[in-house]
Symmetry: C2
Subunit: 340 residues, 2 copies
DNA sequence: ATGAAAGCGCTAACAA
DNA sequence: TTGTTAGCGCTTTCAT
């Protein structure tokens, strides 16, 4: 940590030209080659680097975008963050990570705090939504892009997780499973509600007619909660497949199956959702519905970038389709590899 | 996105008092109750919220701290980020995530960019280090805390990963393994070098005298690289245990073992390092050396917080001790659970 | 092409 | 306790 930094004024004095010319020269806008040369040299000698705060105050742009989620430790959000950073950084934007908290109220607070003008835009993926949040987002002083359920008049990047659950159910039917369990997370969350809707719709479909379907709800979208819910669900017996609302729950269910001596996929086929790294390396490899987390992050970042650019376009609502990635946890012919 | 926000001046006019009084009233410093009341009311009516940029310019503090790593997708760094955010947010600090890139040069650039004054401090965990980086950090215009190898005259939070490898080796000897393989990542990285040193020291120890030890180097600290290195190592045969330089490599090694028909821990005991979530849910549960990632993040955040506060203290070098977490991948009596 | 000067929103030193 | 005023570092009119 050394002495305080050189300012533009000092560079100007050093170069023996005006402040305005110095600024112009450094930006290459309307300055003679000689001037540019002179100023560049002076700046270099002083080790000048422009002050972001002064610049921001004047330009009314911070070159920062916030990304807010409830739990930055969740692999899905990590993927989004990575993608967002990859898009934004090359454009000179910094990424500020923030927490929405678990409640709508705290998310509303977060959105309101944008009034302090520390970022030019926000990408947020709220776990829970209500009218106050929608209104807060509409009133927000900077562009907000929601990753999640599309909201009226608000830019969003969504995916159809309900249809995604449908994909999983269809796949299980196709490989001959008939008695399905569904392990969902909390129903009062946006993803929880959507996935439940998806499961109910899929099992109400004529194609599923007459088969068995039941739901067990986990307290949270975690492995531990999945394990507990899995135990409750499987203890009742009679299932040959479980659809889990995300990969972490799926892994919990597989552990519960193991405790009961059930093999996966032999006795029980299991599907997850989100297609996370963890599901890829897990044994058995987890069949999962990809919701394109990285892609959603990428699109959301592109969208804010548009908005902060100028952005009087109409509301943008992008969508990323779900797709199934089949792995061992739903393999048709179960060849146990561990035998020896 | 609504019309532009109210400024302090407008609040002052509305309240019919001076700008300074308004500022003071809002901060509760030296203002009469009546004044506070009046100003509060005016601010509320206008929906005023203070502008972070104006404030920063004046106070010369941004209330932001940067966290920079090579790969924000790595679970270890995610844990650090989470911990850092948890410490900093309650103190009113925002966290900006940045990338060091893969090379020392890009990390140096990152540190130099702090000259733009967009953060009050930096927590960085460099993959590679050299004199130019050390010098850049020393010259940095804001406090920098390094998570990694302690560097002369620089605040740091370190851990002894070499000793950590020693813990793993000792544990394997204790459970009767005698022919050890070591799968390390790139040697030109700080962690790679330290872990190699740890393995070499542990296997040179008298306690290990006469036993077998060999090293295989992976291209990267990933599952895929671990799988490839594991194949090469295990193809040569004759090992009863493998120490991996991190959890991802360990999982790769276990997969390689599976391909060769080796059971874990029956035929081959495997240890990882970092004690990540992924190792906890993996089957078999992965024995791993915890390096206290979250704790290191927490301490680093506390350290920058101190520094940005005032911070003319001497150089601070905190350390977090490694400890072994034993799970099934090194179980003594291997009871195969999958049998059925 | 260059210079002079205003002003972004805020806090703090100083005066009253 | 309150008001007046300077100024943080920068970009950008406006005049030359």
């Amino acid at each position: 940590m050394s002495s305080s930094r050189a300012t533009l004024i000092q560079v100007a004095e050093r170069a023996g030209v005006s402040l305005a010319s110095t600024s112009r020269a450094l930006h290459g806008t309307g300055a003679s080659p000689a001037m540019v040369e002179r100023v560049r040299a002076a700046a270099a000698e002083l080790g000048y680097s422009p002050d972001a705060t002064g610049r921001s105050l004047r330009m009314k742009r911070t070159f920062q975008v916030a990304f807010a989620v409830a739990d930055i430790g969740n692999p899905v959000y990590v993927e989004m963050l990575t993608a967002i950073h990859e898009v934004l950084a090359p454009h000179g934007y910094r990424v500020v990570v923030m927490s929405t908290g678990q409640t709508v109220a705290s998310t509303v607070d977060l959105v309101r705090s944008l009034g302090s003008g520390f970022v030019d835009g926000l990408v947020v993926s709220p776990l829970r939504t209500d009218d106050t949040l929608v209104e807060a987002i509409r009133q927000a002083p900077v562009p907000v892009v929601v990753i999640g359920r599309p909201l009226d008049g608000i830019d969003s990047v969504s995916t159809d997780s309900a249809a995604g659950i449908g994909l999983a159910v269809a796949h299980l039917l196709e490989i001959g499973r008939r008695r399905l369990g569904f392990v969902n997370g909390p129903l009062d969350t946006t993803p929880g509600a959507a996935r439940q809707r998806g499961f109910d719709a899929a099992t109400a479909d004529p194609a599923f007619a007459g088969e068995h379907a039941e739901t067990e709800r986990a307290d949270d979208f975690t492995v531990t909660a999945g394990l507990e819910a899995g135990r409750r669900l499987l203890a009742r017996g009679g299932l040959d497949a479980v659809v889990a609302a995300n990969d972490l729950l799926a892994i919990g269910v597989i552990r519960a199956a193991g405790e009961l001596g059930l093999t996966v996929p032999g006795d029980l086929a299991v599907t997850g959702m989100d297609d996370t790294e963890i599901g890829k390396v897990f044994r058995p490899g987890l069949t999962s519905v990809s919701l394109g987390s990285a892609e959603r992050g990428r699109l959301a970042a592109l969208l804010v970038l548009d908005r902060v650019g100028d952005g009087a376009e109409p509301v943008q609502q992008a969508a990323v389709g779900p797709h199934l990635v089949v792995r061992e946890s739903t393999a048709v012919a179960s060849k146990e590899k561990s035998a020896r």
